[in-house]
């Protein structure tokens, strides 16, 4: 029986490969990630203004559920800073239970996004927008740490500096232990022994002391509630999907393997619904943690599952000690995460990359930093890249001319659409007195109504000057478009064009 059970796993499609092809590496990496998840989940709960246990339960639920339902094996999802930032006002004005409802609705939106295959839309997000996104994310995580320094005394700065020193220098001595964990343990011991005057995790609210239990949000289930949470849920769903899909892309590139982006969307949705039902906040994939996972040797779904389960075990077993962790140590870990997430190469690339790419990247960063909403930043970035692209392609247009018997022949080459239409019209010399004009467009492409209208405009202008106009070689794509949309070759052409 056991051998056949084993065989079922071995032979069923990718199941065995995604789960059991890297057992040792996945378990070790999952453990490292679980340890790193604790400070992050606590820090992000604090950003959102809820008890640390809300973020910790969410991280457990999301990690475990995405291990099974996610589309990218080896990616780590949990409570994240980008999501936490969007919840602040909702929590402040309406409280935790409305956040739970918003989390459920976020999950519903994300499942729908997966069903309508929104993952395919990711191809419109250019490389520059992605760089802007990760940089903005890193800056947001870093900025979220700054309030901790407000009014803090020397012990705060000393612990942050000490922790950072351990985090970055210990790996030079040994790669066998997670240095952020060592930093946290050492600083906790120091804080207790010297009774330092710094904030502890326990001061910030309740920590988990048991397994998460089913928690139905205590809100009036009315339309009014829906209108309150809807805008938050829409934002959360968008940001969650963006960060998850971008992280999936980064993990794809790191490991040179493929992922199912639409399954990831639905997986995130299911994870958020489960998190919402067990008293957790909404979350998504984490770039920093996923990098840590891959770096530690995690590749399969097992690593994500181990991270979630081990996180919970640690909390339940070590709860009283977690309370004693000094906040500055967590701040140090988060600074490390933001440094690791930031794409430092983008400074170097300012000199190498085209200005338009740099503008897209910087605009994405700036919009996010000012709005605290990654979705708006990415939207602006995508829009800008589309505009720059249109501008670039519009330059692929050339009109040359040569005299011909009784007139002139114009040769049009390139792409004709809304962005190049004006330049196209300007290329013609309407002041020249000619009897016949021939426009050869066999090497041009007409993309839209504006292109067609501009050709009409040229033809009509020449006709009004008394020239006889012929058009040569409208290739088939352009011909169908002109046939359907053009007015110059039909009767009462002028009236129609003027009526536009």
């Amino acid at each position: 029986m056991f051998s056949s059970l084993f065989r079922l796993f071995v032979f069923s499609n990718n199941l065995s490969k995604e789960w059991f092809s890297n057992i040792r590496g996945d378990i070790l990496a999952g453990t490292v990630v679980a340890l790193a998840l604790i400070p992050e989940a606590i820090a992000f709960s604090i950003i959102a203004g809820v008890d640390p246990k809300v973020g910790l339960y969410a991280s457990f639920c999301i990690a475990v559920v995405t291990a099974f339902f996610g589309g990218r094996p080896g990616m780590i999802s949990a409570a994240t800073g980008a999501m936490a930032l969007l919840m602040v006002t909702l929590v402040k004005q309406h409280g935790l239970h409305y956040l739970l409802v918003a989390t459920l609705l976020t999950g519903v939106f994300q499942i729908i996004a997966g069903l309508i295959r929104i993952g395919d839309v990711m191809r419109f997000v250019s490389r520059s927008v992605m760089t802007g996104f990760v940089n903005a994310l890193a800056i947001l995580i870093f900025m979220a740490q700054l309030p901790e320094f407000k009014g803090a005394g020397p012990p705060m700065y000393a612990i942050v500096a000490g922790s950072l020193a351990i985090i970055y220098l210990l790996p030079r001595l040994t790669k066998a232990v997670p240095s952020p964990l060592v930093a946290i343990v050492v600083m906790t011991v120091i804080a207790i022994v010297f009774d330092l005057d710094v904030r502890r995790v326990g001061d910030l609210g309740a920590l988990p002391d048991a397994l998460p239990v089913f928690l139905w949000p205590q809100v009036p289930w009315t339309l009014e509630t829906l209108w309150i949470v809807l805008p938050y849920s829409a934002g959360l769903a968008a940001v969650g999907l963006l960060e998850s899909l971008m992280t999936a892309q980064i993990v794809d590139e790191m490991t040179d393997t493929a992922s199912d982006k639409n399954r990831e969307c639905s997986g995130q949705g299911i994870a958020n619904i489960v998190a919402g039902l067990f008293g957790g906040m909404a979350g998504c994939a984490m770039i920093g943690q996923s990098v840590i996972n891959v770096k530690s040797g995690g590749r399969g779904r097992l690593s994500t599952l181990v991270a979630g389960v081990f996180l919970l075990i640690l909390l339940v077993v070590l709860g009283p000690w977690v309370k004693q962790i000094p906040m500055p140590a967590l701040v140090a870990v988060m600074i490390m995460v933001s440094i690791g997430t930031f794409s430092w190469a983008s400074f170097r690339n300012f000199r190498v990359h085209p200005t338009s790419s740099s503008i897209v990247m910087v605009s994405t960063v700036l919009v996010v930093v000012f709005t605290h909403n990654l979705a708006i930043g990415v939207g602006v970035g995508v829009l800008l890249s589309a505009l720059f692209f249109a501008k670039k392609v519009s330059q692929v247009l050339r009109v040359t001319s040569q005299p011909a018997p009784e007139g002139r022949i114009y040769l049009v080459t390139g792409q004709l659409f809304f962005a190049s239409a004006d330049a196209f019209v300007r290329e013609f010399d309407f002041k020249e007195v000619v009897a016949k004009v021939c426009i050869d467009v066999s090497h041009a492409h007409f993309w839209d109504l504006t292109a067609v209208a501009s050709l009409d405009k040229v033809v009509l202008k020449f006709r009004r000057e008394g020239a006889e106009v012929t058009i040569l070689g409208l290739n088939e794509a352009s011909a169908t478009l002109v046939d359907r949309l053009g007015v110059h070759d039909k009767e009462d052409a002028l009236e129609k064009l003027l009526a536009h």
């Binding site: 056949s4 059970l5 065989r7 079922l8 071995v10 032979f11 069923s12 490969k17 995604e18 092809s21 890297n22 590496g25 996945d26 070790l28 990496a29 490292v32 990630v33 340890l35 790193a36 094996p73 985090i167 970055y168 210990l170 790996p171 790669k175 066998a176 232990v177 997670p178 240095s179 952020p180 964990l181 980064i250 590139e253 790191m254 490991t255 040179d256 393997t257 770039i287 920093g288 990098v291 840590i292 891959v294 770096k295 530690s296 040797g297 995690g298 590749r299 399969g300 490390m336 995460v337 440094i339 690791g340 997430t341 930031f342 794409s343 430092w344 190469a345």
Partner: protein, 290 residues
């Protein structure tokens, strides 16, 4: 798209394991009998799911993901190059062995990907697929089948010849007759293909021999006789795997022909598979049809 598809050919899957020489000999035998060439396939399956050297520091520094991507790419590049050279050597050896076995047209092919997905692409163009009973590290667990074998057979649209440890000239064949659609396909193939023409043929029906619901064995026998085969038929009651195994030994059968995996993976998961047992316990090559 895969370029250079040769004319009629036998597709021989090799991994350079202990079974490889036997795969080449079986392929050469089949190719010569049906007058075809041989295409030798070696796949490079890098097991990207497996991590290389973990770093448990859990700390990420400047440009963490870019640096990690570069580091992993470099590691995998080295490994992939070694694997490719090893694959080249395996294919060179295969071409040499096939040529010395008398096959004129040998094409070697190396592809990235898993065996199953590569075969899905290549197999429709082939007349016959030849694969070893076990793969690399075959002595690791005796009695276990090659990990990929069952998946290959399940997804296969062509006959699959599963090569045994050593090649022996084929004189006697046994068709394990259960009246199912796959075995009828097998009978059609045997009757029409030059592969087994002129060999002595035993039709054996095992299990509940009084079941009238199944397609009568005599019709299959008649079809084979009219194709010029010398056919004997026999029906023995008992557990199919035991009965067939016994007959293969008693009659000194050189090749077992059977329909493969008539049942869904779920049913097989509960009851076990006759096919798998047969391939494992019979020490002769097996020609399978789906």
């Amino acid at each position: 798209m895969i370029a250079n598809t040769p004319s009629p050919h036998v597709l021989a899957c090799t991994d350079g394991s202990l079974y490889a020489p036997s795969v080449y000999q079986h392929s050469a035998w089949a190719a010569l009998r049906i007058g075809a060439g041989v295409r030798v396939l070696h796949v490079l399956d890098p097991h990207r799911g497996r991590a290389i050297g973990g770093d448990l520091t859990g700390a990420i520094g400047f440009d963490a993901s870019a640096e990690l991507t570069a580091a992993l790419a470099q590691l995998e590049e080295t490994q992939a190059r070694v694997a490719r050279l090893k694959g080249d050597a395996i294919l060179e050896d295969a071409a040499r062995q096939l040529a010395s076995a008398g096959v004129e047209q040998v094409v070697a092919l190396q592809r990235h990907g898993t065996l199953v997905e590569t075969l899905e692409e290549l197999e429709p163009a082939a007349e016959l697929v030849v694969i070893g009973k076990r793969g690399e590290h075959c002595d690791f667990a005796k009695g276990h089948l090659g990990r990929e074998l069952e998946r290959v057979i399940r997804t296969s649209v062509r006959p699959v010849l599963v090569a045994s440890r050593a090649f022996k000239p084929v004189q006697n064949i046994l068709i394990a007759y259960d009246g199912g659609p796959s075995v009828l396909k097998a009978v059609d193939f045997v009757a029409s293909s030059p592969l087994l023409q002129g060999l002595s043929c035993h039709l054996l029906r095992a299990g509940k021999t009084d079941d009238t619901a199944i397609h009568p064995m005599e019709e299959a026998a008649a079809k084979l006789r009219s194709a010029g085969f010398e056919v004997t038929t026999e029906a023995i009651s008992g557990a199919p795997d035991a009965v067939i195994g016994q007959a293969v030994r008693d009659r000194r059968i050189d090749l077992l022909v059977m329909g493969a995996y008539g049942h869904s993976p779920i049913r097989q998961f509960i009851l076990g598979s006759t096919t798998t047992t047969m391939v494992r316990t019979c020490l002769v090559p097996v020609l399978m049809f789906r």
